[in-house]
Symmetry: C2
Subunit: 402 residues, 2 copies
């Protein structure tokens, strides 16, 4: 008897040109295009195992070992049903294909980073879910990553950008059915492998507004959002694409910072206003701005999503300098574990500040205000996992202990 | 021998529709119109004594007892010279007028509120300076407040709005020479005397970007500012003027909050971004938003200028409720001295929260995060002070001890 099972992992992505606002909330069609960098799954990933079996009585999903309700018509159900429909088409066309589309699914998913880190776990999660079911159904052999991104998009908008590696654009599209609202790769990771990222995990007492409800409030109430959508983002998409193609870091970095600022500006222009950055986030902006000023060139770019965490894009050659500054001004609550071992012989935070850096401009905060620091880089797209030890379901189709 | 001297006091004003950006930095011509409420001089004021005397050897200014350099061609010098020129015209036209325009001036100015409070002291200061010299030169008898506002505007833009009481618009104007960029009264204080204001003085470790340099950085770098100037503010000016005329507090309040939000949004859209609100400011926003939500109507409006202080506009009948909430969630560092004695028999901060108010949404901060609370209301325009005890210069033309 065959075991119909597949395991995939998928990466996190962090946008440089931000997605904020839907023109269709059911299909998850955005008001503007966006662009992100896919981060390396060696460090941050969602892993999902999907199994189809005649003995299963209902589609069941476990996230980090905990069962999650699959709401009929909800986002997870929509993704599963669309993949199942495509499998059925393939089965009907080829009688040799086992009829597994009629089986229920058991799906187990696991993030190797804490949810509390405030990283967009739903993007990696839906990308891994769609990738694993597509592999299980052998759809990955006939559908491109862009085609699969159409499905992941309906799970969580930004998940579509985690369907490929490198530098990825989510084209807003124009069609009412959303069939042109998909991800395309602007450049693979190999084009610019020196692109590294430092994630500064910022403590925050309060849970902010969810991005799903927040972005629609912005669409409904911000007078500035329409100007951003129609007159700012289109040009920025062109400009950052060109910067990536030319490996022009200063231009890439300036556009990234400008767009992070503008995303938070339209949040503030919302009624009532939405705040995601806190005083520590602001101080990290000051640190990056001062670092670039002192260097006489733009060497680092901050960007903030719907939370206080700061992601700093920086070329490999400058990671050490900026990482040292972050830890020097914001002593971490957690030990920094660097996969690149940049500080093998030295202690992070104890190196001198760069020449000309004015420490007085960075507001000081208690130790632990930045909880942790994650060092990663541009990465590849979803992976097919064949190592049996990684599969997340046991022989009975139940999730293994996490 | 005559003593040529006059003393004037002038009020603070706090904008509801914000001024941010100059189209002409020398003449101080704004990129958009703005509108403010003049606050009561009984509580907050700048007082200035100006004296002309043949014995004086140079124009000299003291602020709070400390001599300030009057830079040739600088803003103070421009105001003085324009008033002197107008005096000279009057003297030339009427030979009975004493020829005091040829005398140097001694000017002493005093704010009755701490500079550290972060209130726009330059607005009240320049309004008092222009008013006192205009009185000394008898120009106040021939020039309207709007005409004098043209002069005060060149000292500090928002000072033009302190030249009159009540609700005051600064019309941006269109002429290159600035002769149509002046203040006009939308309504006197008597029209809506129930309009009260609570100023929450927020502690801030860091001095932010000066508004003079900040606003020009926004003009130069914010893609959203032009949309605000051309498409948002003109309608808001009409709408808030109508709301004031109709005494429609909810509309007045919503526009005030929206425009505060948008001002800080364009600051954030600046490169590098400008932040004036801090975490305590944000928590005060949450408090006001929750207060309005629980009340089922808009009873209070927050507004923030170029600093973390929160000014809350609220009708007299609701001051007690919101003042109690502020102090309950933000225990003050300083004792609250209420000129209206609203809490005569009760203790501020110890009354119950309003029905339905969800305390959980207001982030909590250490006591003293809001340093002090000032309760005032809409007030009148500059006053002529005849009480000898108030004059700020002694017999020798030196500032009296402050």
């Amino acid at each position: 008897m065959s075991l119909y099972q597949a395991t995939a992992s998928a990466p996190v992505n962090i946008a440089c040109i931000k997605y904020w606002g839907k023109r269709d909330t059911a299909l998850i069609l955005p008001t503007n295009s966006s662009l992100s960098v896919t981060l390396d799954q060696d460090h941050l990933r969602s892993t999902t195992t999907s199994r189809a079996d005649a003995s299963f009585t209902k589609d069941t999903l476990w996230l980090n070992g905990k069962e999650e309700v699959i709401k009929p018509g909800g986002r997870t159900a929509v993704c599963i049903e669309e993949l199942r429909r495509l499998r059925k088409v393939a089965e009907d066309a080829n009688s040799n294909e086992p009829k597994i589309s009629s089986f229920k699914l058991h799906i187990a998913s696991y993030n190797n980073f804490p949810t509390a880190a405030g990283l967009a776990s739903s993007a990696a999660g839906f990308a891994a879910l769609v990738s694993s079911i597509a592999q299980l159904y052998s759809l990955d052999k006939v559908l491109s990553a862009s085609q699969l991104s159409l499905i992941a998009r309906q799970g969580s908008g930004s998940a579509c950008r985690s369907l490929m590696g490198g530098f990825v654009a989510w084209q807003a599209g124009q069609l009412a059915d959303g069939s042109d609202s998909l991800a395309v790769q602007v450049a693979p990771r190999e084009h610019w492998p020196e692109m590294h990222a430092l994630i500064c995990v910022v403590s925050d007492a309060k849970k902010g507004t969810s991005s799903t409800s927040g972005m629609q409030r912005t669409v409904e109430t911000s007078p500035l959002l329409q100007h951003r959508i129609n007159h700012v983002v289109p040009q920025r998409m062109k400009d950052i694409t060109a910067a990536i193609q030319a490996r022009d870091f200063p231009t890439f970095a300036r556009l990234t910072m400008q767009d992070s600022n503008q995303f938070h500006a339209v949040c503030l222009d919302t009624e009532p206003p939405i705040f995601y950055m806190n005083d520590v986030s602001r101080a990290l902006v000051q640190l990056v701005v001062e670092y670039n000023r002192a260097a006489g060139e733009v060497r680092a770019a901050y960007t903030y999503d719907a939370g206080p965490n700061c992601v700093i894009y920086v070329l490999q050659k400058h990671v050490k300098e900026i990482a040292n500054l972050v830890v020097r001004f914001f002593p971490l609550a957690e030990t920094f574990k660097d996969p690149f071992a940049l500080f093998a012989s030295e202690k992070i935070g104890e190196l001198a500040v760069p020449e000309g850096f004015n420490s007085a401009v960075v507001a000081s905060f208690p130790a632990g205000s930045v909880k942790g620091l994650i060092h990663t880089r541009v990465g590849d797209g979803p992976r097919k996992i064949t190592d049996d030890a990684v599969h997340l379901l046991d022989a009975q189709g139940q999730p293994k202990p996490v």
